[in-house]
Symmetry: C2
Subunit: 320 residues, 2 copies
Amino acid sequence: MALSEFELIERYFTGVGTGRDDVILSVGDDTALVAPHAGRHLALSLDTLVAGVHFPVDAPAETVGYKSLAVNLSDLAAMAAEPAWLLLALTLPQADPDWLEHFAGGLATLANEAGMALVGGDISRGQALTVTVQVAGYSDRPLRRDGARPGDGLYISGTLGDAALGLKLWQGGQREGSDACFLIERLHHPNPRITLAQALADLANAAIDVSDGLLADAGHLANRSAVAVTIEPHRLPLSPALRRSAPATQATILALTGGDDYELCLSLPLEREREAQARAEEIGVKLTRIGRVVEGNGVQLVSPTGEKTAYEYSGYKHFC
Amino acid sequence: MALSEFELIERYFTGVGTGRDDVILSVGDDTALVAPHAGRHLALSLDTLVAGVHFPVDAPAETVGYKSLAVNLSDLAAMAAEPAWLLLALTLPQADPDWLEHFAGGLATLANEAGMALVGGDISRGQALTVTVQVAGYSDRPLRRDGARPGDGLYISGTLGDAALGLKLWQGGQREGSDACFLIERLHHPNPRITLAQALADLANAAIDVSDGLLADAGHLANRSAVAVTIEPHRLPLSPALRRSAPATQATILALTGGDDYELCLSLPLEREREAQARAEEIGVKLTRIGRVVEGNGVQLVSPTGEKTAYEYSGYKHFC
């Protein structure tokens, strides 16, 4: 079954996502045309996933489609943005209709949930399966990385370390049992914290999404804000499944350094903590204080007895 | 020399392009932030170039950077859009500083010429060199593919077939002499017709850029407009270098079917031809009538004596 790229686009990528009043012209012309709401700012991001680098080569097509949008939505969440449109660039070794149908299905599921429209794209042939998604969203009150202030608390949504252990389990072929299923599901279907970010946008001073590991990403936030952050490892929120599946020390290391969680790390004034946690609870997301923002630079780990260790780690490095 | 992706972005991709009053936050946060001018529509496009598929594996880095933006600008031109911002996704087998510097230089040259700012991106490791550029531009009077009407003339900017022969010469190692240089230059540095498109936006009924070959792209325009187009091969504008470098028949075939020219194919009322050509001349671009728009569907070739042949060809197909 040989379809041209035009037929592939027509069959799998036309009408993906929701209808939107700000989309004038979607897939099918030289470009898409949109009419941004007047006076609103747009947050723009793009992220690439490469098979064997960002997801296992044997990951189900549906999860690749879902995750290629999820990682981008996580960036929009970190800016407290409201998702609007996406464009897709897909490079494929071959056009397998079954794979494409499931890939498009995973992408469409999340696009619909997020209220986004797929407005354009490009499909080409290439040796390595590579997916680039570009997203735009309205951001009226952006949560930048550079707003953290000494005196803020440091908070994390959800739980950490699940996706990193999920990846190990997937790679080791251990896919049975409810804990393994939960952890692998966290790897394949991250939950971008769009709603939480919007609910906290007027309380928080800064935010970053945790894609490369907490220590690395908290380090970026500290650097951009010209402050130091302390992290108390014993406070890190761990899922019951992770606690049951790994020794305590390994679980903590995964929570500190594992990538792919796509939780939100926020800096907000301690006196707004109660309000922030109440709002998070209302949308069903746990918000945990894991440390503080202080004068200085870098990331410090603080033990339950108050001992401090400066930690130098910069997350997953593609080229080192 | 091992640099992390953050250091690579900092060193090569920060501050690329021109300053713009509608860019609030550029490279360095979770997303870029832009403030679109109120009441203006945005044209959005993205295109991927894969080494060995869209450009020769031995193409100079500068030309890869230049062309990855040029092919996207050509899409903006086809919508008569005014370039604004771009985002870059780069997948690399390794981070070679020399390659990156020249790649970024080529990209920056064209971004500056077009008045665009690079506002965000993603660099990751992957086996195949893959470049995806996403562009946005203001499009107040879009030239869609679906507006061609019977009675229009069909026009092409510049000359056709140069890039296709340039590719053959490059691949064959024939890079000496002024004609070969010209043809290879046409391959490596296409000239997106941004200015021409804006000058003709109020005269033309439809436009498409010629990336897959004239017959294929004129076919897309005909299909989307629910009309037929006739093309008179003897009218096709050929460069002196192409005429000197290929027999007449081969030159015509290259002009009809060769890709990568990134010229603009326009449909406009015959009675506006003189005005359109005068405006084109003012900008220093040749605008040639190559056929007509008529009732029907598909593309017909018309000989000097008026004989017609229906032509079925749909350009470069990635998956057939």
